[in-house]
Symmetry: C2
Subunit: 381 residues, 2 copies
């Protein structure tokens, strides 16, 4: 695949980042995913190349049986890992369409004679046009499929996930046990196979230095917390992903309700922290936000990490009505486009780190100001 | 003295910072000063309070004999140290009208019953209206007088210094020896008593990391180099003061020619470094400069040290025609006005550190853009 074959992706913002809902100011997006395996085949890490290829063939056939696959999956893009470059794989990771684990350990574009070339065999991903649904084949499990939703919304995501699961189950035979539920490669996914998560922006808690305490509490009651894009060594990023750790012994409703409860608490804490800053440290807050906006508007070279941290700060400024020249929507879009692989796909050009820093700065200049250019789909070509 | 009594200073830029000469882009100012002592009195550090008071009386009388004092000293401001606040003393240091040593060790505004109150006795400074001439009484020597000139210019300064010295010598009897010349409190000033220095802006050498090597070479051939305002722990400042270390065994001409020779070399190195950056690292250079300008234009709070470092970077940008919205002149003015004591005198108001950071940011906003307000004398009141 040529880089330009990814051009259907590069000019649009995925639907899960497009939103006008005010709740999405704090919760960027919600994600649900199932882990499933085909009965009668070993898990991917134990499977031979021909078994992996066989699994992929079966799943491919299921998708060709269009009647049982929900409408929202049409048209679907099929990407096989022995056909793409490391840059293209990284692009898919940055867009949250495949997991980082899926490409770590894979030797992309390995030559056929290479002993590692088999790592790509039977690995693929299906992605729908809106980019809110993706299915990885032969990652840790035979099938991992997810639905991403804009803002804080599990209802729609679960409905879509179930529709897809039901459609596939009419064609495929899943490995499951009457006692445990769905069987998975890692015990932490056994049962419902459901993982639910939110991507949440907590700059108020970061700036008021409450974040460590809050995250530790979440971790202690049994949920996973990890920093999301925007982590630097100097500046702690502002984005976090909260997800359930256990899928066994809990119903889907309980899993999702647990995440919802924590998310509501986090939203409450974050709002309190923002109120506190407005009342007590408004000058310092404005200083941080205006500086971030000014640097983004004027830098001629900017690294990915610095840009993400500054965009996160400006995002807070927009949410608090301190910055009015741009929008949450535009910042969400930029946070994705400026990442190294996305930037190169956007410009349809492989670049050195210095070239990227320059293009990134110039892309931010042209897009940061909401009114500077049309809000329509962009083409740099 | 009330803070507002300093208002004659606060609205003007001293003449030695006003210049349109292009050579002043690198050399900000030149300074010459004489150290002199009255015959028949002990040096200040050995003198009693009444001797110090006596010395001051004699020098005061000399100034009242107006006919022998050069025209450029009229009108002259007389400031006695037992009448001013620590803030006012700091203000004079920041404006280079008195030495930092002159106020260290002095207990300003000490109550009469305090055992340290005598430290202020007999200490004073005379300053002319243009602020280019000042005379300290009873610092390390009975008399230390200096002429500051804009840009790279010793000729005028020495002429004025000599005129003043000749005028005073008609009235006062200086301590001198046929063998050594003028006698001074510290041996390093014996002889001519002349110290000559330039204040030089070397951002090109700092950014290309050549500066350490160059400064070490200057130090090794027997000249003093010290960082000037703009030193931070993170960012090395861009301003340096180069002066002679020895006054004995060299004529005035030799001293000044020595400094001139080094200054010419430094100007050459600095120009080469700037050319190098334009040719090889222009993007990185522009990035630094535009960021500095953007932060200065948008910060709501800014500390003195950070502001000085950023102003120094913008100053380079103006000199290299990368920034055109402001001028060298305006930046010279700001570098002085934003210093802690000057800022408070300018606003005629004692302020906490946080208040200063806020006022400093707002002063920079209103003055940085050359066309934003009149270039005339400003009044914030």
């Amino acid at each position: 695949m040529k880089l330009s074959d990814f051009s259907t992706f590069d000019q649009t913002t995925p639907s899960w980042l497009i939103t006008n809902d005010t709740t999405s100011q704090i919760v960027l997006s919600s994600r649900v995913r199932y882990a499933r395996n085909l009965a009668g085949f070993p898990f991917p890490n134990k499977a031979t190349n021909s078994e992996l290829a066989g699994i992929l063939d079966i799943i491919n056939m299921a998708f060709k049986d269009g009647e049982r696959i929900p409408e929202f999956l049409n048209p679907i893009e099929y990407i096989a890992f022995d056909k793409i470059s490391p840059l293209q794989a990284e692009f898919l990771v940055e867009r949250h369409l495949i997991s980082p684990d899926f490409i770590h350990g894979l030797k992309l574009n390995a030559k056929p004679q290479s002993p590692n070339s088999n790592l790509n065999t039977g690995r693929a991903v299906f992605i729908n046009e809106d980019e809110n649904v993706s299915l990885m084949v032969n990652e840790e499990d035979h099938l991992r499929f997810q639905v991403l939703s804009a803002g804080y919304d599990f209802t729609n995501g679960l409905k879509m996930l179930n529709a897809l699961d039901d459609g596939l189950e009419l064609i495929l035979r899943y490995a499951n046990s009457p006692q445990y539920g769905f069987l998975t490669s890692c015990p932490s996914n056994v049962g419902t196979g459901l993982r639910a998560s939110v991507l949440i922006h907590l700059p108020g808690l970061v700036l008021t230095k409450e974040i460590e305490k809050v995250l530790r509490a979440i971790w202690q009651i049994g949920y996973n917390v990890r920093g999301f894009f925007g982590e630097g060594t100097e500046t702690r990023g502002h984005f976090f992903q909260i997800s359930n750790t256990v899928t066994l012994g809990q119903s889907e409703t309980e899993i999702v309700e647990g995440i919802e409860k924590i998310t509501n608490q986090l939203i409450g804490y974050e709002e309190k922290a923002r109120d506190y800053m407005l009342k007590n440290t408004r000058k310092e807050l404005e200083d941080k936000i205006y500086r971030a906006y000014a640097i983004l508007s004027s830098a001629r070279l900017i690294a990915s990490q610095e840009a993400l941290n500054l965009l996160a700060t400006v995002r807070l400024g927009v949410a608090m009505n301190i910055i009015t020249k741009t929008s949450i929507q535009r910042i969400n879009q930029l946070m994705l486009l400026i990442r190294p692989a996305n930037l190169q796909v956007f410009y349809n050009q492989e670049m050195s780190a210095l070239e990227r820093d320059e293009k990134r700065a110039s892309l931010i200049h042209s897009l940061l100001n909401e009114n500077s250019i049309s809000n329509q789909i962009l083409s740099p070509k």
